[in-house]
Each structure stands twice: as C-alpha cells, then as structure tokens.
C-alpha cells in the first residue's frame, strides 16, 4: 500500500497541470465566445479555395 505515497502526489500533480492549463485558456479568452468557433469549423469543412491571410 505504500505505493500510495507515490501515486497520490503524482495524481495531484497531473490535476495541478490540468488546472494550470484551464486557467491559461480562460485568461487567454478561449471561453469568451462559444458560438462562433463552432461555425468556423463548418467553414473549413466546405473547403476554402483561398485562406484568409490570418497571422
């Protein structure tokens, strides 16, 4: 059972990484607009001839 002393902190480390990733995404505004990106995905599906010059 002493593996617990290793595995639990490791699991918490993974959680910590996930939380950091989430906070980063939220701060970057990834959750600001939840509607339009879904539509943009459709656009690519139809197949753009010319890509807009996005940086």
């Amino acid at each position: 059972m002493s593996v617990m002393y290793l595995i639990l902190p490791l699991a918490l480390l993974v959680v910590f990484a996930a939380v950091i990733a989430f906070v980063w995404a939220a701060r970057r505004g990834q959750f600001d607009d939840l509607d339009t990106p879904a539509m943009r995905a459709l656009h690519d599906d139809v197949g753009d001839q010319k890509k807009p010059p996005k940086d």
């Binding site: 059972m1 617990m4 002393y5 639990l8 699991a11 918490l12 959680v15 996930a18 939380v19 989430f22 906070v23 939220a26 701060r27 505004g29 959750f31 600001d32 607009d33 939840l34 509607d35 339009t36 539509m39 943009r40 459709l42 656009h43 139809v46 197949g47 753009d48 001839q49 010319k50 807009p52 010059p53 996005k54 940086d55």
Partner: protein, 841 residues
Amino acid sequence: MNTVPDASAVAGSAASVAMPCAHCGLDVPAGLLDAVAERQFCCTGCRTAYAILHEHGLGQYYAFGEKRDAPVRPTGKRYEEFDHEAFHTLYVKPLRGGLCSTELYLEGVHCTSCVWLVERVPLILSGVVRAELDIGRARAHVEWDPATVTLSAIAQQLDVLGYPPHPYRGVAADEMRRKEDRAMLTRIGIAGALAGNIMLLALAQYAGWFSGIEAEFERYFRVISLLLTIPALFGPGWLFFQGAFASVRTRRLHIDLPIAIALLAGFARGAVNTVSGSGPIYFDAVGTLVFLLLGGRYLQNRGQRAAADAAEVLGSLAPNAARVVDAGGERELPVEALLPGMVMSVRAGETFAADGDITEGRSAVDCSLLTGESRPEAVGLGARVYAGTVNLTGPLLVKVTQAGEMSRLGALLRRMEESARRRAPVVQLANSIAGWFVAVVLVVAVVAYVYGLRTDPARALDNAIALLVVTCPCALGLATPLAITMGIGRAARAGILIKGGDAIEALNHPGLILLDKTGTVTEGRARLVRWEGTASVKPLVAALERESSHPIAIAVQQAWPVIEVLEARDVQQTVGGGIEGTVAGRRVVVGAPTFVARRIGAEEHAPDVRIEAFAEEGLTPVWVAVDGVLVARAGFGDPLRADARASIDHLRALGWRVALLSGDHPAVVRGAAQQLGINLADAVGGASPEEKLRRVELARARGTVLMVGDGVNDAAAIAAATVGVGVHGGAEASMSAADVYLSRPGLGPLVELVQGARRTMLVIRNNIIFSIAYNVLGATLALLGLLDPLIAAVLMPISSLSVVLASWRGRMFDAPVFDAPVAAAADAGASSGVPRMEPSR
C-alpha cells in the same frame, strides 16, 4: 432566427412562378423578373453583393444554403465620420506594426454564412488584415493597415454586403465584464478540480469505513483532503467570505452569510478532527458546495448580462455623425463632439443625431423609434425633433438642444438599464436555501453526535455520518436550477428564447399582459386592405408610388408587383398630402382625400362619406384622381395577425387579463381592441415610451406584468415589466431588453411560453417536494439510528439522480399546445421580400 417560414408559400400563390433571388433566396417580385437573365435578383443590393462575391471567388457563400432574413439593403452611407480624428481617439486602438483595430456592431448578421462572409472581408479589401465575428453579440473585430485602406472603406464594404456597421460604444464596460467572466471561470475550474479530488479521497475513506482501512492511510487521506480543501476554500471560495463580510458590515442579510458560516464551520470542525485523528471531516461537502455555488452564480450572471447588453446595442445604433453648419461651411463631426447650440444639417432619409429645434426647412419625421406611431409626422420651423428619429422628405437645419446621454433617447436607455438591473433572479433563492440547509444539517449533526455520545457512544459517530451523508443539499440545490435549465433548453428548441429563470417563475402568477399593437398583434406594416374603383388605374398609381419611399407607397409596391412598367414624370410629393405626377400622358394625383379634393378643385363639395367609413375601420384613406376626376379609393391598414384573436382568448382562459398599450392613434387601437375582444377601457393608444414605462410600473404594483412588444419604443417598458417579451422581427433593442424573445412570428408562441412556464414550475415544485421529503425522511432515519452509513451513501446519489431524471423527463415545452393558421390570413397580394421598417436606420 429563421426567415418567415411561410413567406415563399404566400408569394407563390400570388405570382404565377416565384423565383428565388440568387443572393438572398427570397422571392423576386414579379415586376423585376428578367425572363432572359440566368439569375434573378430581388433588388440592386443583392445584385451588387452577388457580383462582389463572384468577383472574389467567394461563391461558396451560397453553399451554406441559409437564407437571409431580408434582401440586402445598403444604406448607401459613406461613413466619412469613421475616419475622423475624434472617432479614432474613441473607438480605434493602434496595434503594433502600424495596424489599427476596432470593434464594430453589425446589423443583420444571424447565421453561419454571415460569419463566413464577414470573415472573408480581408479577401475582398486589401489592407484589411483580419475580421472576426462574434455571432452571439453581432460584433466584428477588425484589424487593418491604415496606410492601405481607410476604415470608412471597410465600413462601406460591409454595408454593401448587407451588414451596416456601427461603432461599438460599450468597449470599456465590455472589457471589464470580460475580465470578471474570466476570473469567475478560473475560480470554477480550480474549485471543480479540487472538489473532484476531495470527493475521490472521501470515497476511499467511505470504502475504508466499511471494509477496513489502515489507520496510517486514513490519516494520510485526511491530511491530503485538508491540503486540498484549504486552497478551495480560501481561493475560489473567498468570494463568499467577501460577500459575508459585506453583509455583516452593511447589516443586511445576504445569502453569502449562511454559506460562509456553513463552509467555515464544516472546514473548522474537519480540520480539528483531522489533527485529532477522530470524527468526521466535512471536506468533501465543503469542496463540492464551493464548486456548485460558484457554477450557479456564473450561469446567473450570464443571464443578467444579456439584459444589460441592450443599452449598448441601442447606443451603437444611433447615428455616428452629424453635419454641422457654421461660419466655415459644412463639416462632419462625430456625435460625441456635438454640443448644444450647434446647427446641424440633416438630409432626407437621415437619422437625427441629437435632439433639437428646426431652424430651417419643412419635412416629415418618422418617430416610430420613440413613439411607435407608424404614420410620419409633419414638422416645420420651430418644431422639436429627437435623436434616433428619421427625417423622411426634406432637408432640415436643426439647432441642437440636447446631445448624447442627455437626449431623450439617451435618457430612455438609462432608464431601461436601471430597470434591467433591478431584477432579482430566482436562482438566488435556491442558493440561499442550500446555504441554510447546510447550516441546519451541520448543527443537527453536531447535536446528534454530542447527544449520541451520551446515550450510545458506539453508534454516535455512525449516525452522525449517516446523517451528513444522507442529507444532501445537492437534490435541493439542483431541483430549481436544473428544471429551469431544462425548461429553457426545451423552449429554445421551440423558438422561444428565455434569458433567465425568474421569467419562468413570474409567468406562474397570472396578471396583466400588455400587448403593443404595431408589429405585435398586427403585422407592423401598412397593407392595401381595400380598393374601390377601376383596376385600369392601378398601373398609373403603381408607377407614381414607385418614386416614393413613404410607407403607403411601399404598401402599394407590395400589393401590386408591377403589372406593366410605366414611366412617371414631374413627380411631386407634398408632406402630409400625397404624390402627383404625369404617367403615360395623364395627370395622376394620389393622396389624402382633402389633398386630392384640393388638386381637382372639388373642395366645395360635401365631404366624402366614405372617409368616415374608412376611419371607422381604422383604415387610412387614400384617394386617386386621374385627369381631374376621382376614380378610386384605397384603404390602408395594418392587419391583425391571424392567430392574435385565438391566442388572446387562450391567454384569458389561463387567467391573464389582456390589454393593448400602443403608441399608435387611439382610434386605431380601439378598432384593433374591438376585433380582438379586448375591453375598450384596456386599449390605450397614443402612449409615448415614457408613458408606456409609467403604465408598466404602475401595473407592477398590482401584480405580474407581462409586456410584449417589438419596437425600440417598447424597450424601456419591456425591461421594466416583470417579464418582458420581444417578438419576431422586432428591433434589436427590444430583443435585448426582453427576458424572453419569441423567434417565431405571431402570438402563438406567447401561449406556449405561458403554458410551458407552468409545466416547468410544476416540475420544480415536484422536485423540491421530493427532495425535502427525501431529506426529512433520511435525516429522521439516521437520527433514529436506523440508517447504516453504507445505505446512506447509496441513497445520496439516487436522490440527486431522481431529481435530474424528473427534470429531464418533464415535457415542459415539447408539445405544441397551440396551433394557429398563421399563413392563412396573409394577404395574397403581398410579396414577401420586404422587411419590416427597421427603426434603426
């Protein structure tokens, strides 16, 4: 939001073959059909947009197969003010590399193809680096290189494509809210991760409780739980302590207080027990509570947000520029630079940028934005005009009296915002119940434990744990929000968009329904209802009316998609009178009876008896004379929606009192009331927006008020009502101010809304009754020592699950309770492509 579903069917029956416009997909009026052309267009706007798209290889736009709501109607504005210095300091942000960026509010964006097209503007205009559209907020973020292209050119391009742009005036407030939103999301994320892991550890400990666990590991799990709870409580959970402190300081009971007490008590007891190594730790409850409460609060904030956005949209719709006349001649100034005392020149077709008095010129003004009165008002020297209303016929010089926030429109917007802010949502109630519930359970558990120690030390701890486990605020906390969320989701699928749970609750107390007339119970546009006279003069009238943009003229154009194209010459319009000209060598006069009589020299005759008859039916009389002889009489009216009568009867049967509150002429409102079976005392006409607001506030003192309207003039009243409802095709402002937006035409959806709200509330009531019964029963059993902790642990999720199931299965908005023949009454002569007059221009 879709197009009027039966539009094509109606037009199809009128014209022999209905051809869709190659750009907007709406039917092309018969007169504009070109037999030899490969593609048909309903207007030059659509033709231009189509040409631009093909020129730039963007024909794929049509692959989305979504129809536009309306044909492309470019405003033709030049947007010079977008390049003005004052405009740039206010709205344009410089970026690195010499680029500029701004936020534009776009009219008319509504679907995937709009997103696609707007974001491809960089392909059409070189110099535009990026265009991104947020469809939910109708806002485009544009970046461009000022060395290559001007903002006015970009604005003109968007305008030509059918999306007239406006500067977005709420950027500062928006930035703040966005930050708040992100901070809240961050809190929820952290709290969720911590709560989940505390839960997992708790599970291990419960399992250990039953199957045995080494003391060493139990202690280990407890310490880790404590370490996870500390950041959850004092990180994301700090919000509740802040609220509680404020509550203590201001001596006003706030829901954060019991929540904070419960959280702190649970945590303190758990921490002490962790150190001492005995007794329950409450960390799982504390962590989960923080997470769930934060989540609830976030959703609730988002709902309120939508209402607050209304004012910004409206502000964005006011004109951006005014031409100011001074010693140096005429120059364009952004509205922000307007000061009282300045004289501005306003051409026909333009919107007034500020309140003012006319110093020169005569014209007709469309005040529908402010008053809802659909008929233009004649104005002359010294008359007062208001920001947001439209100058229709002649050029005017106006001396500014009030501008910006101080204008009548500005004041209206402020009041709307205030009303919107005052509302208290129902979810708060659920939160406070959960908070008190937790506090009570904790106290009971402690008392039971202490009492148990004396009577039955061996079972005391078991019973206390069973109590804590089995009494779960989750079911109670979930009962309301879940049912409401489900109800809102179901309603959205039925075309009824509900912004907040409080609307659903309020709709369960029948009270007064105030209906705006124009556009709500009627179709909101002038229609040719009666024609008395020979049909042979129709082409003459149509030719003449083609030269005008008066609502009556538009109604004529719609009624007869031109039979035969005739040329009209020497056309002259008289404000408040009519129109005259020469068509095919004959002198044609069309207009108000007195005007026509004067023109043909028949004034000395006795007044026409038909005028009286038309007025009684609420019709606007228009007489036609050809070569000095009266040949036809036409009556124009705004027909009632087909389902209005049946819907209103239905609402009455559900216990609501129905009244009309309109800005239109009292006689017309009374006429409509009669047809709808509404008590004449309940039909109020001639109400200004301020009057509407006052009446709504008065009525609120007596009970629930449901205000239904479509115009900007209703927006303040809609926001002030207990529940404000915006209807299909209404102005953006009324939609945003409303708690509920009906995206299908007619009043049928209103009935569905009221019935659906009743069913939703029923589900909520059942949920609450169930979870209270469950908790009381569970607590009693636990206190009596009849409940094993194991059984309690199994029961807890079941209680939550049954609430979820009950909410999910409740058929709140599913069955269309009410079907009305919406299409049946649509006038056969009407073409469908012409949109409602939008007051936003």
